[in-house]
């Protein structure tokens, strides 16, 4: 038997923008066991619900994570809206989908860049982020913020986009797609990318289900699982088909994300086409009483918000289960049996968002 060594990975590591610590047990070059330790970003923000009113909690929810900030806000608002039996105007719901899908494009482009960087493909990283800046420009133009924009609100959205602006945005989306196409071609066809990711970090369909994988990680292993199929909000009027790959390796996870960007761009065009005129928010009176598990689909997968109100302006409990938390057990499974050199690529392939995970 080969000699066992323990290699610490993180928390400050060149390939990781965020701190996570893994103890890798190695036999020669092979990883045989992994022990994760988390908690570097644990802030304890769930307990803030006892200090901030339920309307201020939207700002806290948006700061769970800066990448999928808007969807966090929307998920929280949906939970409160169900508890309070609020009827949200259709226009607000469509705007939520618009910004939500735009966030997905931004998040996936960001991931594609980081993943390219992890395999040493520097120019691809730069090009992904160049296209991503165009998405951020749309955010800034419509809401005023580049990454965290505080557009969600209990009862609707805070800012409207005029019809003229929406028509202009349709053109901007076409431009983004035009710039994105050659980039996507590199991810789908380039030899380097395929060579580095094919058959690395394999996760079978059974394991993915058993270990509770969510989002692109699950879809790349052949599980058609997408919470947008629950048809919450405006997804009631917008049909979404989950994008599924069956290979189950890092490359399949990349392909899922590359294709989801096209899907999101398409969804946004449908939103611009279908969006009805009208109010953007309903007046909120009273305080939430009751409980609800709100489930929405984030760029990284399914996220669950549990809100429990007790009839005062402070909530009893606010709990978030974020997609990366659910993806840690599949990650441990993928890492077993890989080589040390593949660890960064595999860790990045689940799109880890540590500040979500530890809250």
């Amino acid at each position: 038997m080969a000699k066992r060594t323990i290699v610490p990975f993180g928390p400050q590591h060149p390939v990781l923008p965020e701190p996570i610590h893994l103890d890798l047990v190695l036999e020669d070059e092979m990883v045989v066991d992994v022990l994760p330790s988390v908690g570097f970003i644990h802030r304890g923000l769930e307990l803030l619900c006892q200090k901030k009113s339920f309307q201020d909690m939207v700002f806290v929810a948006e700061r769970i994570c800066g990448i999928c900030s808007f969807i966090h806000g929307v998920g929280y608002c949906q939970g409160i809206e169900k508890v309070m039996n609020l009827d949200i105007p259709k226009r607000a719901q469509f705007l939520r989908v618009f910004w939500g899908e735009l966030s997905r494009v931004h998040s996936h482009l960001l991931w594609l860049g980081l993943a390219a960087d992890a395999i040493g493909f520097e120019s691809l990283f730069m090009h992904s982020w160049r296209v991503r800046e165009k998405v951020l420009a749309i955010f800034e133009e419509t809401t005023g913020g580049r990454v965290i924009f505080g557009a969600a609100k209990v009862g609707g959205v805070r800012i409207d986009i005029s019809q003229d602006k929406l028509d202009q945005l349709a053109i901007a989306l076409d431009e983004i797609q035009k710039e994105y196409e050659p980039l996507a071609k590199v991810f789908l066809e380039d030899y380097t990318v395929q060579h580095r990711w094919s058959e690395v970090g394999y996760l079978s369909k059974e394991d993915a289900h058993q270990l509770g994988a969510v989002g692109p990680t699950a879809r790349a292993s052949g599980l058609p699982q997408d919470m947008r199929k629950l048809r919450y909000g405006a997804y009631e009027d917008l049909e979404v088909e989950p994008i599924v790959e069956t290979a189950g390796d890092c490359y399949a996870r990349c392909v899922v994300r590359v294709k989801e960007i096209y899907q999101s761009l398409d969804l946004m065009r449908r939103v611009i086409h279908k969006i009805p005129a009208g109010e953007i928010e309903t007046k909120v009176t009273g305080f939430p009483q009751g409980e609800y598990f709100s489930r929405v689909e984030q760029p990284r997968g399914e996220v669950v918000y549990y809100v429990k109100g007790n009839g005062t302006k402070f909530l009893d409990r606010f709990r978030v289960r974020t997609p990366t938390f659910a993806n840690i057990p599949p990650l441990l499974q993928m890492l077993k049996g890989c080589t040390l050199a593949d660890v960064p690529a595999i860790v990045l392939s689940i799109d880890p968002c540590i500040s979500c995970t530890e809250r």
């Binding site: 022990l35 330790s37 988390v38 908690g39 644990h42 304890g44 769930e46 307990l47 006892q50 200090k51 901030k52 009113s53 201020d56 169900k82 289900h209 058993q210 270990l211 509770g212 919470m227 199929k229 629950l230 048809r231 919450y232 009631e236 609800y292 598990f293 489930r295 399914e302 669950v304 549990y306 429990k308 402070f314 009893d316 409990r317 709990r319 289960r321 938390f325 659910a326 840690i328 057990p329 530890e358």
Partner: protein, 125 residues
């Protein structure tokens, strides 16, 4: 559109058998969550199968919070159980991986259980 959510209340002794049954039926574990109530801890085990939401709920007393682990049946449960131990001080027995309270490494022990809503309400106005 809001989904229908089935919440079933069970006893602590039933937990293992119910969890075994439901994971055999092909449900996946979505989350395990804990909520502190005035006289008990409310524990939620959430499962999902093809977008069907199913929740097992049980309550355990505040002064003697113990739970059997389901992590040898459903592996991902160990993360949530360690989390519950660190945040609420719930003793979970026989976890497949026990961090011994070092999961989140919080200076204060079981913050969610010791802080009550009354003494933290500091917001102005």
């Amino acid at each position: 559109m809001f989904e229908d959510q089935e919440i079933v209340t069970i006893e602590r002794s039933e937990l293992i058998s119910r969890a075994q049954k439901i994971s055999k039926e092909g449900y996946r574990l979505v989350q395990i969550g804990c909520t502190k109530q005035s006289d008990h801890f409310q524990i939620d085990y959430t499962f999902d199968k093809e977008y069907r939401f199913y929740n097992l709920r049980l309550s355990i007393p505040l002064d003697h919070p113990t739970l059997p682990s389901i992590s040898h049946l459903i592996m991902p449960a160990f993360l949530y159980e360690n989390e519950m131990h660190d945040l609420f001080g719930i003793q979970v027995s026989d976890m497949i991986l026990d961090y011994q309270g070092k999961f989140y490494n919080i200076a204060k022990k079981a913050p969610f259980a010791t802080i009550s809503a009354a003494d933290t309400t500091t917001e102005k106005g």
